[in-house]
Amino acid sequence: MAAELLRESYEIQGRNFDKAGEVSGEIKMLLRELGIDAACLRRLVIVAFEAEMNVVMYARRGTMTLILSEKDLCLEVSDEGPGIPDVEMALQEGYSTASDEMREMGFGFGMGLPNMKKNSDEFRIETEVGKGTSVFSRIWLNSNG
């Protein structure tokens, strides 16, 4: 296990579409400043943005934690929300439980979780209906960080 270099946590407010994307924006700025490899950064930002949108759309509140080591970038997102009744289903492309209102705003294409999984090297979901969901994503850094 590589030594942890940095750990930052961010609060995400549910149902606040106005501020949606700010946390992933901040993470992006931070990683860009640290000169993280462009391809890894791109993947992580997509995961972070989709995760943030899921919290905003479905949960009351959530926390996103970024953990950087010399070998990898990890993202832990846990929320207080409805949970996902059928994870297998939710991981299929195009499956969405988004409301019309959300779709009109350009969200809820059913690409969120599949997109996160696709852009991660390691991806886990733990969820309990009525309580909340936590998602873990790991992206390996390449040699130049």
Binding site: L5, L6, G21, S24, G25, K28, L30, R32, E33, L34, G35, I36, A38, A39, L41, R42, V45, I46, A48, F49, E50, L68, E70, G106, F109, N115, L141, N144, G145
Partner: protein
């Protein structure tokens, strides 16, 4: 200093300096510098004497700088009188690039959206601040480069001259295109030999037109599309794509907002982004004379007189499109920034140090330390570029130093 969108400028001891890796040549500083210390690098007429045949390639923006009664034909005449041997008709090159872009977008496997590459500021912004998006810059030459290549081919053949003996001079609406001629972003050699800013040549053209002015016959205003691009977008980048998949953007701030959204994967269904760093596109360039809105009105006025493309025009486009290659000669790459030379652990340490330093700073972003924001100052200190004591809140002596630099004549 604050006008710089990438925070590349520092002012120490009354003198501005630049962190060159961060500069994207946008020219925002040029317009606001109080002492006129920053200027554009363009070519002088004297430097042109070494060429045997001088050809002007005019940004269409040039034609919108004069009164309603001055037609492109007048402007061309004036340029010839001023010593150019020819004025290149650039509309065919523009049409060719429009086609090349349209075809490229239609055949592109992804990732989307493709980003136009004719504005050099946009290209450098992506290279510096959005390295992951470099592969989305459309790998096609700009119309002005194709114009330079074609005019050299044509005149060297017709006049039996070597291509080095012919000067292709771009009449430019901005200094960024000048820099793109001197140091192309793809690290190839430009087909153009230099540029003259519209504002530099404006008075000469204006006076020349006054001198030789005959009363304008209204009939004469009508001209063929050979003289002016049909497109509203002043540099002609207007692919034949359906509107829902195509997004035109102007102004650096708005472009940055949209690029941030692209980076998050938020923008879907858009295939092509046409980006011009200047508000309003190239007619808002920082070396233009007429203000954007008047120039646009003039543009629309002139377009009303433009005839449909002639069959000869269409034939020439068809002929050249089949046999020329319009792709960039070398791939665009991200620009390496200084931070990448130290390893990740050091970068994290540096960032921590900057965070700690920031807590001791006033967060007023007053700029008196010489950096545009407190965060920039903290980063500069952490990177060893400057002393923390440059902040006036931390050291009173700094105020005295500033007083000496800026108040040369005591009251």
């Amino acid at each position: 200093m604050r006008a710089c969108p990438t925070h590349a400028i520092r002012v120490k001891n009354g003198k501005a300096s630049l962190i060159p890796e961060l500069c994207i040549d946008c020219g925002s500083c040029l317009v606001v510098c109080p002492s006129g210390a920053i200027s554009a690098t363009t070519i002088t007429f004297a430097e042109l004497d070494r060429f045997k045949f001088k050809v002007a390639v005019c940004s269409p923006t040039l034609f919108f700088q004069f009164s309603q009664r001055v037609t492109p034909a007048h402007v061309r005449r004036a340029l010839l009188d001023l010593g150019f041997d020819a004025v290149w008709d650039y509309s065919i090159d523009i049409e060719l690039i429009n086609r090349a872009i349209t075809d490229c977008v239609k055949q592109w496997p992804g990732p989307f959206p493709l980003i136009s590459s004719s504005c050099p500021v946009v290209v450098r912004l992506v290279q510096v601040a959005y390295p992951a998006m470099v592969e989305q810059l459309i790998p096609i030459e700009s119309p002005r480069e194709i114009a330079g290549r074609e005019l050299k081919r044509k005149y060297s053949k017709e006049l039996k001259l070597k291509s080095e003996e012919i000067a292709a001079i771009y009449i430019t609406p901005c200094q960024a295109k000048t820099i793109s001629i001197l140091q192309p972003a793809e690290e190839a050699k430009s087909h153009l030999d230099g540029s003259v800013g519209i504002s530099e040549i404006y008075n000469d053209i204006f006076n020349q037109i006054q001198k030789s002015s005959k009363p304008v016959d209204p009939e004469q205003i009508v001209f063929s599309s050979g003289e002016l691009s049909r497109w509203i977008a002043p540099e002609g980048e207007f692919p034949n794509l359906s509107r829902e998949h195509y997004l035109p953007l102007t102004g650096l701030n708005d472009i940055i907002k949209v690029f941030n959204d692209i980076e998050k994967g938020k923008i879907r269904n858009i295939e092509f982004l046409e980006c011009h760093a200047c508000l309003g596109g190239c007619i808002g360039g920082n070396l233009t004379v007429e203000n954007l809105y008047v120039a646009r009105s003039k543009n629309l006025h002139l377009l009303a007189y433009v005839l449909n493309p002639t069959p000869e025009f269409e034939k020439e486009v068809e002929k050249r499109y089949g046999k020329e290659d319009f792709s960039l000669r070398r791939p665009l790459r991200p620009r390496i920034i200084e931070g990448e030379v130290v390893d990740l652990r050091d970068r994290v340490m540096r960032r921590r140090r900057a965070d700690e330093l920031l807590r001791g700073l006033p967060l007023l972003n007053c700029g008196l330390c010489g950096a545009p924001t407190c965060r920039n100052h903290a980063e500069d200190v952490a990177a060893g570029r400057t002393e923390v004591g440059d902040c006036v809140f931390l050291s009173r002596e700094r105020i005295e130093v500033l007083r000496k630099v800026y108040k040369k004549h005591p009251a």
